[in-house]
């Protein structure tokens, strides 16, 4: 079962790559049909990924969010879901252009660090940990989407400012659209991030983890939280233009990536389970 799941995930990964190629053709050769084809490929890939995750969960007999392989796959899964929902319910052009690289990147990281499903440690057998993980995955999915949109915003804004209009015009989503996406994705992500962090703190307190507040991962998480809170505050209350908000989202994305790919595996004192 474990191998079947891995093979299915590989097929899903290849389909995501194919979908990204279709989106590239759609955007740069201005061929709308390819965008729809890409969307179907993403839908198929996502369905296969769901199957792979379900198989793995059935195999392990628990939620498939333990360890790097499983959690990265889960994030990719939630990002792809966000993409499908956005593409189906909004008429935003070329979302795949910045969402699919995120999905593909996450899956590459997951597949490179493949590990067999393992037993849940006693420390993690807790409802609040399950809540923590699920909520965090949602937050990360939404905030990665915001970060992707922000990167595109920054690039497009630069192109518009520098008057390199040929590649931009009519191909990429408009700045206003990206601005709205950044805002809405952050608005979705921040409450979940808050909840997830709160659940983590409660867990740390109940387990009497010493000096948990001094952990690099925790400090970086607080910084990221502050960046996103600042972004929303600035956007809602202060005179912050689209450019500044976009840069904040990029900074937030960098922090989130550092937390996931540097702080959690290498720096954190207590968040590394089973390694």
């Amino acid at each position: 079962m474990e191998h079947v799941s891995a093979i299915v995930l590989w097929v899903a990964f290849l389909l995501y790559c194919g979908a990204f190629a279709m989106v590239l053709v759609a955007v740069f050769a201005r061929h709308e049909g390819f965008n729809r084809l890409g969307l179907w490929l993403v839908a198929a890939a996502w369905a296969l990924q769901t199957l792979a995750v379900a198989l793995r969960a059935a195999d392990a007999g628990r939620a498939p969010v333990v360890g790097a392989y499983e959690s990265l796959t889960a994030v990719a899964w939630s990002v792809a879901l966000v993409y499908l929902v956005l593409e189906l319910f909004t008429r935003v052009k070329a979302i795949g252009l910045y969402v699919l690289p995120v999905v593909i990147g996450l899956l590459v990281a997951a597949l490179v660090g493949y590990e067999a499903p393992r037993e849940l440690e006693p420390a993690l057998r807790s409802d609040i940990v399950v809540l923590h993980v699920i909520v965090m995955l949602t937050a990360v999915g939404a905030l990665y989407v915001a970060g992707g949109a922000a990167l595109l915003y920054v690039v497009e804004e630069r192109q518009l400012k520098r008057r390199h209009l040929g590649g931009v015009l009519g191909r990429l989503p408009s700045l206003a659209t990206l601005d709205r996406l950044i805002f809405h994705a952050t608005l979705l992500g921040l409450p979940f991030l808050t909840m997830g962090m709160a659940a983590g703190v409660i867990r740390a307190e109940t387990f009497d983890v010493e000096r948990w507040w001094f952990d690099p991962m925790v400090l970086l998480s607080i910084a990221a939280w502050a960046v996103y809170a600042g972004l929303l505050w600035g956007r809602l209350r202060a005179d912050w233009g689209g450019r500044r908000v976009a840069w904040l989202a990029v900074v937030g994305l960098v922090l989130m990536l550092v937390i996931r790919f540097a702080a959690v595996p290498y720096l954190s004192g207590f968040h590394t389970y089973g390694s």
Partner: protein
């Protein structure tokens, strides 16, 4: 006599130079008259748009005409002729007419297929016509050109995806705003381009249009036409705070909106993106505005990028339009040649007839004892000889009228028979006798009378 065009365009000269060479209606008329005196041009039209300044002349010596045109332009702009030199192009004869048609068909425009050039060409022609600078040839040629412009727009889809300067601007604005919801447009300057841009924006869903102009009445007038609201020009900063899109096309010779204006306005507008399009030449908006955060500034040259994109897609339609131009060119070429041939034939007949009459008169005394009937016979005989001799050359020339080598015939006949003094094709000189010449003259006079009506019919 040849049609000669001399000028600069976006293809040969940068915006800085075009700015200097831009002619208003008054200057255009001055240049047209200057060209007539300097180069002996019989007819002249000056076309000045933001992308080109061109002088059309109907003159005997194409080289002299083009040199005079360059000199006129240089003088007008206060630029040395040498500096102008590399940017200037000049065509004569068929090439000049082809150029005129291609320009009017917007095939030579920065945005191929844009619609404004027809109106601009019409205005240029009307100005020249009312100033008495056009006559038979240009009246017909320019009306034909306007027709060509119209035909190209209706018979090809070259204008179906409109990408004039204005609509290219709209496309750019859409890239920033996505969709126009409750965005506000501020129009600076109440010119024709402003109106066109406002109409475009309105067609794309913009509802709130503010119009500011130095002359408040003009702002009110434009506001009424586009369904907007006139606002005082003095409160520029306040208006910048309210607007999302600024379209500047005033006739001001200096910068109207500075970077400081925009920076201060940005605070009022909570740093929402401000989109500024400068379609005025000389420019109205300070180029430094581009460095303000969330301000997007584009001038005419920036739109070139957009244009290149669309030009590619329009190549097929442009090929169709070129065929229409070629067709029309053939027709007008035939007519122009016949224009030379007819007065030459008339001149030839006139000159020979004069000889016949003079000889008859000279012999009058010696024919004294002839009866009236016999005199009539002599008269008939001589006339018949003249007719017989002239018959073949007349037929040959008429046959040649539509052909390339027609100029050779005209030249040969004029030289051999000493028919000089081919004045302006306005109907003077030898034209008066020939029936066709008379007709042409009528047409010329009629065209001059109703150039406004006639041309406005092309709208």
């Amino acid at each position: 006599m040849l049609v000669v065009v001399t000028g600069i365009s976006h293809k040969t000269a940068p915006l800085e130079l075009r700015e200097k060479l831009a002619l208003d209606a008054e200057a255009a008329l001055r240049v047209e008259r200057e060209l007539a005196t300097r180069a002996g041009a019989c007819e002249a039209v000056a076309l000045s748009t933001c992308n080109r300044t061109e002088l059309y002349a109907y003159a005997k010596d194409s080289l002299a005409a083009s040199q005079a045109a360059v000199a006129c332009l240089a003088e007008q702009a206060g630029v040395p002729v040498a500096e102008l030199g590399p940017s200037v192009y000049s065509y004569s004869g068929d090439a000049a007419i082809a150029h005129l048609f291609r320009v009017t068909a917007s095939l030579d425009s920065m945005v191929v297929g844009e619609a404004q050039i027809v109106a601009q060409m019409k205005a240029a022609y009307q100005g020249a016509c009312e100033g008495g600078c056009t006559s038979v040839v240009f009246n017909r040629l320019f009306r034909r050109a306007l027709e060509v412009g119209k035909r190209v727009r209706t018979e090809t889809s070259i204008g179906e995806r409109p990408v004039s300067v204005s609509s290219a601007a709209v496309e750019l604005a859409l890239q920033v705003f996505g969709k126009f919801r409750d965005h506000v447009v501020l129009i600076l300057g109440a010119g024709e381009t402003s109106e066109l841009t406002a109409t475009y924006l309105k067609a794309h869903g913009i509802e709130r249009i503010l119009v500011a102009n130095r002359t408040y009445a003009a702002a009110e007038e434009l506001a009424r036409r586009v369904g907007g609201r006139a606002v005082p020009f003095e409160d520029l900063e306040g208006q910048l705070g309210a607007a999302d899109i600024v379209v500047a096309s005033t006739a001001a010779p200096h910068v109207v909106v500075t970077r400081e204006h925009v920076e201060r306005a940005m605070k009022h507008r909570r740093h929402r993106p401000l989109f500024l399009i400068d379609i005025a030449v000389p420019r109205d908006l300070d180029p430094a505005i581009a460095r303000v955060d969330n301000a997007f500034l584009y001038d005419i040259d920036d739109l070139q990028h957009v244009v290149d994109e669309n030009r590619h897609e329009r190549e097929k339609e442009a090929a169709k339009a070129e065929r229409i131009v070629a067709e029309e060119l053939d027709e007008v070429r035939t007519w122009l040649r016949s224009l030379e041939v007819v007065p030459t034939i008339a001149g030839l007949r006139d000159s020979v007839e004069k000889i016949r009459r003079a000889e008859l008169e000279r012999l009058g005394n010696r024919l004294g004892d002839l009866s009236a009937e016999q005199r009539a016979q002599v008269e008939l005989l001589t006339a018949s000889i003249v007719n017989k001799i002239l018959h073949a050359p007349t037929v040959r020339m008429k046959e040649a009228a539509g052909r390339e080598e027609c100029y050779l015939y005209v030249d040969a006949v004029r030289t051999l028979f000493g028919l000089n003094g081919s004045g302006c094709a306005g109907g003077e000189g030898e034209r008066d006798d020939g029936g066709r010449g008379e007709g042409e003259r009528d047409e010329g006079a009629r065209a001059a009378d109703d150039c406004r009506d006639g041309a406005s019919g092309d709208a």
